[in-house]
């Protein structure tokens, strides 16, 4: 008995993709394995680590806790969509570079998407705000100190552009 497949259109980073997947295909797997957008990482598949966080209509969401078939009516932004059109790093990416906000890089995409959304809603965070913003993402390498610095620096950089 083979599994029923569903035809979907996912809009990711402004591009519409057609794909055919079973209902149980997690959004994280669809992005990574069906669309080749491997920047979204899978760290726990139970919603705790945050590495798979993508933006759905601008709001951070765990892509491992959603099925691709449920993500058809939203704009999805992944880490690949955070780079500027001209290829330069976005403010959040640039800040993480400057502040050594990453080491192995595995959790980084989830932080970048989360912070991107966070700064949109909260452009001038205090240090406490910056910590709140990343409070749902696990990092095993950095001890978070430089991640918090990166959030504050990203706010500065984004402010500079405005």
């Amino acid at each position: 008995m083979s599994e029923q497949l569903h035809d979907l259109r996912l809009t990711v980073n402004g591009v519409a993709h057609a794909l055919r997947v079973p209902a149980r295909r997690l959004l994280s797997d669809a992005l990574r394995h069906d669309l080749g957008l491997t920047g979204t990482h899978v760290g726990c598949e139970h919603g705790v680590c945050g590495a798979c966080t993508v933006l759905l209509d601008g709001l951070p969401t765990r892509s491992c806790l959603m099925f691709a078939v449920s993500a058809v009516d939203v704009d999805i932004t992944t880490v690949e969509g955070l780079t500027e059109a001209d290829g330069t790093l976005g403010a959040v990416q640039q800040a993480f570079l400057e502040c050594h906000g990453l080491q192995c890089g595995f959790c980084t995409p989830g932080f970048l998407t989360t912070v991107t959304a966070g700064l949109r809603q909260h452009p001038t965070p205090t240090e406490d705000d910056a910590r709140d913003m990343v409070a749902g993402n696990l990092c095993r390498c950095t001890g978070y100190t430089n991640i918090v610095r990166s959030v504050l620096r990203a706010a500065e950089l984004a402010g500079g552009e405005a």
Partner: protein, 321 residues
């Protein structure tokens, strides 16, 4: 950690959703999925059909009235938390929601889903139980209301039947003579609590007339205790905590021993009763500000999605505990 296969239904309307549920005894409703999908990924649950109600219309508008807050099935926890109108009418909801997991989870997770999931370690079942709210469920046979004290049957077990969809939850408004408080202790910020408590205190002048405390992460189901408080002195509060302990049967796990849980329940009982009393007194003199208002953005900066909408629901009388 990948889910077992299931049939998938994206219903055209509520009736279609109910029919799909009724057609398969192994079917489950998918709303926010923040509790359900981890279980599916770990294959601890394997429904044969998922009925994804996320596309259904008219299930996301929170209705706020003088009577209370009616939260429909698709209202996300983040939106309810962000609503100043909700916090004004029933502040306990916001106080508790701020402790539900992390902002990213709240973006997708629903209030109603959390209630149906019936986790005694979760905040919202305790809130509904303490406030004496109810869940409205629909099936092909019609709708019914399940009062909070009949909703939670056991660990992760609610009395919502498999062919029913919880369409909304009702949280009664805070009375003019009432105050509330919420506190929990978790190992990590955002975790399920080792112990949590909410209090609802009714006053007449500076005298307590009734006081209830409800607990999460202490027993198998959210537990409400009428602590028979009549005074908020240290001795009376301690006695109230002892009365509460008499009604609780804390269990130990990897995070907290049963004795430690009992101790925390005692500590939190005193804290929330005192705070709820102060809250009630402050309200009585009209000087109570939004308890979340002064905090550094507890809402993640989201605009209030409900704005200052007028009461569209009208008055529905609700029973109190």
């Amino acid at each position: 950690m990948k889910p077992a296969p299931f049939a998938f239904v994206r219903p055209q309307g509520l009736q279609h959703a109910l029919e799909a549920l009724a057609a398969d005894e192994g079917a489950k409703v998918l709303a926010g999925g923040q509790s359900l999908v981890p279980l599916l990924n770990m294959r601890l649950a394997a429904p044969t059909t998922l009925v994804d109600i996320n596309g259904l219309p008219a299930l996301d508008e929170v209705l706020v009235s003088d009577e209370g807050v009616e939260v429909p099935a698709l209202a996300r926890q983040a939106d309810v938390l962000a609503s100043t109108a909700v916090r004004r009418v029933q502040p306990l909801l916001g106080l508790a929601l701020a402790h539900v997991a992390h902002a990213t989870i709240r973006n997708r997770g629903t209030v109603v889903g959390s209630l149906v999931h019936a986790d005694a370690a979760a905040e919202l079942p305790m809130v509904l139980a303490l406030l004496g709210g109810h869940l409205r469920v629909a099936s092909t046979a019609g709708t019914r209301e399940i009062p909070a004290d009949e909703l939670f049957a056991g660990p992760l077990e609610s009395t919502v039947r498999h062919d029913e969809i919880a369409v909304s939850a009702f949280f009664p408004a805070l009375g003019a003579d009432e105050g509330v408080a919420f506190a929990e202790l978790a190992r990590r910020h955002g975790d399920y609590a080792m112990c949590g408590a909410g209090a609802l205190v009714r006053v007449e002048g500076d005298r307590v007339t009734r006081a209830w405390v409800a607990y999460l992460s202490v027993c198998d189901v959210p537990t409400v205790v009428d602590v028979e408080l009549d005074d908020v002195g240290a001795e009376a509060l301690a006695a109230a905590a002892e009365r509460a302990l008499g009604r609780l049967d804390p269990v130990g796990d990897v995070h907290a021993s049963a004795d430690y849980r009992a101790h925390l329940a005692r500590v939190l009982t005193v804290r929330v009763l005192r705070e709820a009393y102060d809250d009630a007194r402050a309200r009585a003199v009209g000087g109570r500000a939004d308890p979340l208002g002064g905090r550094a953005d507890p809402l993640g900066g989201r605009a209030d999605p409900l704005g200052g909408r007028a009461d569209p629901l009208g008055g529905r009388a609700e029973s109190r505990p």
